[in-house]
Chain length 192, copies 4
Amino acid sequence: MKTNRLEAFSDGVLAIIITIMVLELKIPEGNTLESLKPLLPTFITYILSFVYLGIYWNNHHHLMHASNVVNGKVLWANLHLLFWLSLLPFATGFMGENHFESLPTALYGLVLLMASIAWGILFYVLRAQHSDDTVFSKAYRSVWKAYMSTALYAAATALSFFSPVIAISIYVFVAVLWFIPNKKIEQNIIAE
Amino acid sequence: MKTNRLEAFSDGVLAIIITIMVLELKIPEGNTLESLKPLLPTFITYILSFVYLGIYWNNHHHLMHASNVVNGKVLWANLHLLFWLSLLPFATGFMGENHFESLPTALYGLVLLMASIAWGILFYVLRAQHSDDTVFSKAYRSVWKAYMSTALYAAATALSFFSPVIAISIYVFVAVLWFIPNKKIEQNIIAE
Amino acid sequence: MKTNRLEAFSDGVLAIIITIMVLELKIPEGNTLESLKPLLPTFITYILSFVYLGIYWNNHHHLMHASNVVNGKVLWANLHLLFWLSLLPFATGFMGENHFESLPTALYGLVLLMASIAWGILFYVLRAQHSDDTVFSKAYRSVWKAYMSTALYAAATALSFFSPVIAISIYVFVAVLWFIPNKKIEQNIIAE
Amino acid sequence: MKTNRLEAFSDGVLAIIITIMVLELKIPEGNTLESLKPLLPTFITYILSFVYLGIYWNNHHHLMHASNVVNGKVLWANLHLLFWLSLLPFATGFMGENHFESLPTALYGLVLLMASIAWGILFYVLRAQHSDDTVFSKAYRSVWKAYMSTALYAAATALSFFSPVIAISIYVFVAVLWFIPNKKIEQNIIAE
């Protein structure tokens, strides 16, 4: 199988997840500014989740572009990642509707944590199939950012029960961290 | 028509089915662990259905990749398969919300059964157009797994009325059976 | 613009329409056969609409495949068609939930009628750009089936107020009429 | 990255937005013409939003077709545009359900305004990467229409609080303005 079709399918699923999430923004009864207020937390969470899905889409593209092998293992590792990302609309709505209370904030972190672990699995399944001098191995020599993110999600999930504000600050921080593109990966892939 | 466009359309429909299913996970009113509990059966069913759709996507890709003819019959056999798979989100929500009671469990089995029969029809429509020495015929010489699955779905559907637990165990068993990839098909297609 | 991208976009919209329609099958409260009964009319309508969308997808593909020009007019004629088809899930749910009563049955017919007129417009916009000896003109020399369908939809819409049963019979009849593939079109396109 | 994949992803998101919007047309309880009446404003808004998304899709395609560079900045500028467009179904439903009252009409304008600013950002990010004699620069020499639209959206948003009718007239006027294709852009891109 070419990476082509895997990308197309993943793109489709990501595009749907990102768009379906907006359905959690339920149209309010009234037509005053007051009636829109309760939607604000969901809207803010929507922005955060949108950015996260954008980051995943971007990184996913780079990862696939650097790879040239797709087998059964890659396929399932990829589906496993999509599974956790597909829970993001639920976690987004749950956290937003409950105005960043402890449990929903922890659940949001848990989904991010699991997605990040799933990303790690996908990454290692792909790396096992590329020798050291391939584009893939050169592009992904340093993976500290991924490790740190996983650790931060785990910490934030636990911290949600003490202070949701700190947890959410960590979610935002990690998003910002990934928003800044990895020059090394881009250069290596383009250099190819 | 090339298999290309049929694949793209099927991928689109499968990607939407797999993602729409998550909408059955309705956001609960409360924000305690207690309020999430009633969602557990739906969540478990969601995992099962996600795996099934992953399997269908994977097998569908192999089937189309091995084929080189698409005519009106193939197109409708394919739409027929997508029709039954499109009912999976409904069956998933129905079984999950009713905590694996008899009728919903049977209905879930019925949808799997019909999808499996639809798969069989698609397969035979395709095989009728490939002579014995094509990649297709070589890759799909042994089809016992498909036959057995159909029989097991039928059995599980009936057994749902006696013991939903046994029925669900069968659904899980068949999923595991298909999760393990068919080396023969992969090799033959790659060998081409 | 190549027909490529127009097809991909149309495929995407059609795939979503066909799948979103299943959301009209609301999961019932109970878990008995009795509780599923009220869903039957919606389910039957779902099958009919699914077949119609399958027919449109199939014919759309043939039409685009035979064409080689896409300009602004074609693009908007195509969007116009997608607009009416996008109303099919609404019409399906409305007719199903009201158990084939007069007005909903007429509305369903109206949507089919408008989609069929939109198809006609798309067809004439495309034909105006193909000279007589192109694949397009050869494949689509006879268009009586399209004319007749439009007339039948109009008749059925009006008849809904006297007898919804007759109207629905006409919808089924036209679907069957199109289900049988047009050999001439297929041959001409393949012959190319 | 090729513009290819960016287009495919954007197409996917736009196709889903355009289709999901129809879900705001909630099926009414009754089956009389009376029961459909309250849906009329939402239906009219749906048409307007559908046309807007069609215009964006069309223009997006031309923009990408004229470009040949995609980097991280383009990607995020594009996601930013999709973000605002993804709010259109919400704004459509909110304005429709409230029968064109002040605040919802202003919010609809705000979403159009932000989408139009996002379009501007995407445009300037792309232009910064094309020298003066490229297809891109030649095709997009005159951008007064984009500027004027942004100004009109801002004006309409503010005017909503005095007269929603004027605001909506402006939304319709801008849509008509863009509906008429830009001959210059089409010719330059085709000339290439």
